[in-house]
């Protein structure tokens, strides 16, 4: 899989030295372990606004079964969730709610924009007065999936992409810790 992080990852990644806890190989190894754990335990927030949420449910269902990756522990409260999958359209009235939910999540947290709506406004890009043209206007997004709705496999693909991204240390969180 080819994940490109030219957008966020500094050149030094992966394997940068953690400035907080001693430094050296040990820390890099530790980082690796932590990233392994984090990437394999992405608990999504139960958050679906419209059609894409149905495909998200399908992904949870027996045929696609995201529990194989350990994603099935969908939490209803943002405090315990790791990743917020924006499944569906975000409208202007919802945007502050989404922001709030994101803010209330405990670090580290990741965002997946699922579907055309969350990525860019999709079918509601033109001639609508109430739709946010892409969730990244509201909160930072880690992975985008195109499709309307993306099929369950596509969501799994996105989650795998996110895993790769976490493992290579290129998520916003990790970069932020590196470069305060």
């Amino acid at each position: 899989m080819d994940v490109t992080h030219q957008d966020q990852a500094p050149a030094s990644f992966p394997g940068g030295v953690h400035p907080t806890a001693g430094g050296g190989i040990l820390v890099t190894k530790l980082d690796e372990v932590i990233n392994w754990a984090r990437s394999n335990s992405l608990w999504p927030l139960v958050f679906g606004t419209s059609c894409c949420a149905i495909e998200m449910m399908s992904t949870a269902s027996a045929k696609y079964d995201w529990s194989r990756f350990g994603f099935e522990v969908a939490r209803a409260t943002p405090r315990q969730a790791d990743v917020i999958i924006i499944a569906g359209t975000i409208v202007n009235k919802m945007a502050p709610v989404l922001k709030r939910l994101y803010d209330q999540m405990a670090d580290p947290k990741y965002v997946i924009a699922m579907g055309a709506c969350a990525t860019s406004g999709g079918p509601f890009f033109y001639n609508t007065y109430s739709v946010v043209k892409g969730a990244d206007h509201v909160i930072p997004v880690d992975v985008y999936i195109a499709g309307c709705p993306p099929r369950p496999e596509a969501l799994l693909h996105a989650l795998i992409t996110l895993q790769e991204k976490i493992r290579s240390g290129a998520t916003r969180e990790q970069v932020r810790v590196e470069k305060p």
Partner: protein, 116 residues
């Protein structure tokens, strides 16, 4: 190893939880933002505090529970010896339970065990 195990287990429990929580303290630096500290209520600001009077319908259960709980306490010593004492113990406990059961029926009749 006797009652000292209590202390050991207590300390072990404390150490376990403290250890777990300390790891996060050590390694994770969360960000702060004004929203984060607010209570979560489905993503909208809360109205009013839960720390106001709150109408629990459960207190009647708790009241009745307390009575039965005490009764239960007396049943333990009784149960230990009932085999030795024999029928007399059975008679005694039937009286005991019967009296309490009256109260239970009364509560039932009064509707105290209905949900409010």
């Amino acid at each position: 190893m006797g009652s000292s195990s209590l202390i050991v287990l207590l300390l072990a429990g404390l150490a376990f939880s403290a250890g777990g929580i300390a790891v996060a303290r050590l390694f994770v630096k969360g960000t702060r933002n004004p929203q984060k500290g607010q209570p979560y209520e489905c993503g909208v600001p809360t109205e009013g505090s839960p720390w106001n009077q709150f109408n629990v319908g459960y207190y009647l259960y708790a009241l009745i529970f307390l009575i039965f709980d005490v009764e239960l306490i007396f049943l333990y010593p009784w149960a230990v010896v009932v085999k030795r004492v024999g029928m007399a113990a059975l008679a005694e406990i039937i009286v005991f339970l019967f009296v309490l059961y009256m109260g239970f029926l009364y509560a039932h009749k009064k509707g105290a065990l209905k949900w409010m």
